[in-house]
C-alpha cells in the first residue's frame, strides 16, 4: 500500500461495526470502548453509521446462511483499502456454533480479515491492543 494511504487510514481510523449472528457480548464491549472509562474517541476513533465512511470494519459473531450475502455486499460497498478486524472467538473460528446447521464458515472464509482478537468476550483493552498492533504492522511494512 502506498505510504500516503496508510497515513490516511491510521491517523484517525473511523470504524464501522458489523454484527453477524453474534451473542451481543462483543458488541457491547465495542460500545464500551466509546464510553467514559476507555473513551477511544480521544484518539480520533469514531463509530460511524455508514460503511462508506469507514476505514476499519469490526466484525463480531459467526456467519449464518442468511446474512452471508449481506456481509459480502457490505464489504463490496466499502471504500478500499479497508482493514477488517475479527473480534471474539466466534468471528475468528466459529466457537461452539460451528457444528450448527446454519453456520456458514468463520469470517475469513467470506471476506479477507487482517487481525484477529480472540476471547469470549475479549476485554476492551485487548481490542485496543489488537488495533494498535495492526496499525504498527502496517506502518512498518
Amino acid at each position: 500500500m502506498a505510504n500516503w494511504k496508510i497515513n490516511m487510514l491510521t491517523r484517525s481510523p473511523w470504524v464501522f461495526h458489523l454484527a453477524a449472528a453474534s451473542c451481543n457480548n462483543c458488541d457491547i464491549e465495542i460500545l464500551d470502548l466509546l464510553t467514559p472509562r476507555h473513551d477511544v474517541e480521544r484518539f480520533g476513533i469514531v463509530l460511524v453509521g455508514s460503511i462508506k465512511h469507514a476505514d476499519v470494519l469490526l466484525v463480531t459473531g459467526c456467519v449464518n446462511r442468511k446474512n452471508v450475502a449481506r456481509i459480502k455486499r457490505l464489504y463490496d460497498e466499502a471504500p478500499k483499502p479497508i482493514l477488517v478486524v475479527a473480534i471474539g472467538a466466534c468471528a475468528c473460528s466459529g466457537n461452539m456454533f460451528r457444528t450448527g446447521y446454519q453456520f456458514a464458515g468463520p469470517f475469513d472464509k467470506i471476506i479477507p480479515v487482517h487481525a484477529y482478537v480472540p476471547g469470549c468476550p475479549p476485554k476492551p483493552e485487548a481490542m485496543i491492543d489488537g488495533v494498535v498492533k495492526l496499525i504498527t504492522k502496517l506502518k512498518n511494512k
Partner: protein, 159 residues
C-alpha cells in the same frame, strides 16, 4: 377451588395420560379437542401462554403447549400426538396472538401444518433453505435405526 383442580375436573374424561411432578403437570389430550381445552385454560382460567415445543420421537410428532398458572407457580403442558406422515393440527392464533411466531417456527422446523394459521411462511431460515428439509425431524433412515450402524451422513449441500 383453584385453577388446577377446576381444569382437572372439567377435562378428566379426555386425558389419556395425566402426571404431576414437582409443580409440573403433563396432560395428553386428543388433537381434536385442543382448541376447546386451550380456550378454557386461556380465557376462563387466565393461564399465561408460555410457548409451544415440538418433538419428533421417530414414531409420532409431539407438540407440547406450555401454560403457566402464575398465582401458584405451576406449569401445565398439554401434549398432542400427530401423525408423522401428515402432521396437522388446529392453529391457536384465532384464540390469542402469542401463538403466531411459534407456530411458524414449528412449521419450519418440524413441518407441522397449522390449520387456519394466517401466515405460514419462512421465518428463521435463509432464503435458499430447501422447503422439504426440516432439521428437527428425524430423518427417514434413522427412524428404525440399528444402534450399531454408523451415523448417517448429512445430505444437505450448500455452495
Amino acid at each position: 377451588m383453584d385453577s388446577k383442580n377446576r381444569f382437572q375436573e372439567k377435562f378428566q374424561k379426555i386425558f389419556s395420560e395425566y402426571t404431576e411432578v414437582r409443580k409440573r403437570i403433563y396432560a395428553t389430550i386428543p388433537t381434536a379437542s385442543l382448541r376447546e381445552v386451550v380456550g378454557f385454560l386461556f380465557h376462563d382460567l387466565t393461564a399465561r401462554f408460555i410457548i409451544a415445543s415440538g418433538f419428533d420421537n421417530g414414531k409420532e410428532i409431539e407438540i407440547l403447549y406450555h401454560f403457566s398458572f402464575d398465582s401458584s407457580g405451576e406449569i401445565i403442558s398439554l401434549r398432542v400426538f400427530l401423525d408423522r406422515n401428515k402432521p396437522e393440527v388446529d392453529s391457536l392464533v384465532p384464540l390469542f396472538r402469542g401463538a403466531f411466531w411459534i407456530e411458524r417456527e414449528i412449521w419450519e422446523f418440524l413441518g407441522v401444518n397449522f390449520r387456519e394459521h394466517p401466515r405460514l411462511e419462512k421465518f428463521l431460515f435463509s432464503e435458499d433453505w430447501p422447503e422439504s428439509y426440516h432439521p428437527y425431524q428425524v430423518p427417514p433412515d434413522r427412524t428404525n435405526r440399528d444402534p450399531n450402524a454408523p451415523p448417517a451422513q448429512s445430505k444437505l449441500k450448500f455452495d
